[in-house]
């Protein structure tokens, strides 16, 4: 791997370790292997959002041309957010694409993602279904996001109403994650979700 990229990741790694945010447990970076090309990021769900209390893991791949090109970042933890794919975890964020600048670091990327979680941009969505719900039914969106945080990221808010509906679909032979996805998509309308799953 390119020498600049490795050198930089080493320095940035130290920067994150020294940072205040790590002390506050809000961001963290871990190495995967010793190659410095693949890392695991960790973001705490920002306070006063449906993601509060959850821990979200990220897959960070550092390209050969880093820092002249952005790192490839994806959510490994499933998340319900207009700018993040609920299926693949792909992120729609300008600084990870054309607005990248070479002076940005892993630390600033993780902090930007945390800011994105706190302030979604539904007009530039990655997941159109989530974005539509965010705009049309903000309350259902907040409940859904909070439920997903509870299930996938260890958040505190259990939603027994949603769990019952999911269980109904599981009883019909649907896989759990698929049932949750369909119900979330159809605003927790059990009939419409069932219809879609069996059509």
């Amino acid at each position: 791997m390119n020498n600049i990229a490795t050198q930089r990741i080493k320095r940035e790694f130290k920067e994150v370790i020294k940072s205040e945010e790590l002390a506050k447990c809000s961001i963290k970076v871990d190495l995967i292997g010793d190659s410095y090309t693949e890392l695991k990021g960790e973001i705490a769900g920002p306070p006063d959002t449906p993601y509060e209390g959850g821990t979200f893991f990220l897959e960070i791949k550092v390209p050969e041309t880093y820092p002249f090109n952005p790192p490839k970042v994806r959510f490994m933890t499933k998340i319900w957010h207009p700018n993040i794919s609920s299926v693949t975890g792909a992120i729609c964020l300008d600084i990870l694409k054309d607005q990248w600048a070479a002076a940005m670091t892993l630390r600033t990327v993780l902090l930007s993602l945390q800011a994105l979680m706190a302030a979604a941009e539904p007009d530039d969505p990655q997941d159109a279904v989530v974005a539509k719900q965010y705009k049309e039914y903000p309350e259902i969106f907040a409940k859904t996001a909070s439920h997903w945080t509870n299930v996938y990221a260890g958040g505190p808010n259990k939603n027994s109403e949603f769990d019952t509906k999911i269980q109904r679909l599981i009883d019909m032979g649907i896989e759990r994650d698929q049932a949750r996805g369909a119900l979330s998509t159809y605003n927790w309308d059990l009939e419409r979700a069932t219809e879609q799953l069996f059509s």
Binding site: N3, I4, Q7, R11, P67, A101, M104
Partner: protein, 182 residues
């Protein structure tokens, strides 16, 4: 007594820490914003951000269509980057070569304000231009007399100026009357 000695100990520790912090800060001050290492062949952008020249050059190459400062995203270009020449270390050792040399500093010589401006009529002091457009008034577009510094130099020039402008005015008036009559 014990407390006092403790206090002085802790205050000494504090000053030590502060000195270390200062040293760290000073080192950070001269780090390239791209490789985060001590800046080699340092250049500074117009917006004031420090880079190694090879790093900045590679950044400008990567984003040739949209050249912005990697730190503040202000518009930057190769021509407007200022090299920093420190004292001492002048060896040209750079592992990432194949990079064009860092742009030279831009120097402007101070104005050597000598000679007799009166004789400068021919070399750049006199400027006269005409244009004949579709519209007859286009005829007398511009004529101006300027010396080097835009200040009247005295002597004959201002009077000539006055005389010539009157002359041209008359030519223009005659031309317009001729156009109207024709």
């Amino acid at each position: 007594m014990a407390t006092t000695s403790n206090e002085s100990d802790s205050s000494r520790k504090n000053t030590d820490n502060r000195e270390n912090d200062n040293k760290d800060e000073q080192n950070n001050m001269f780090e390239c914003n791209i490789c985060l290492d001590y800046a080699k062949d340092a250049v500074v952008s117009v917006c004031g951000h420090l880079f190694c020249w090879p790093c900045l050059h590679q950044w400008l190459e990567t984003r040739s269509s949209r050249q912005v400062c990697p730190v503040c995203k202000a518009v930057i270009s190769k021509d407007k980057v200022i090299p920093i020449y420190g004292r001492g270390n002048t060896k040209q050792e750079d592992p990432r070569n194949k990079v064009p040399p860092r742009p030279a500093g831009q120097r402007t010589e101070p104005d050597a304000n000598t000679g007799f401006p009166g004789f400068n009529f021919g070399d750049g002091g006199f400027h006269l231009s005409f244009g004949i457009g579709a519209f007859p008034f286009g005829f007398l577009t511009s004529f101006n007399f300027s010396d080097r510094h835009g200040v009247p130099v005295g002597g004959q020039l201002p009077q000539d100026d006055h005389y010539l402008s009157k002359l041209f005015l008359w030519i223009a008036v005659i031309f317009i009357i001729w156009l109207l009559l024709a």
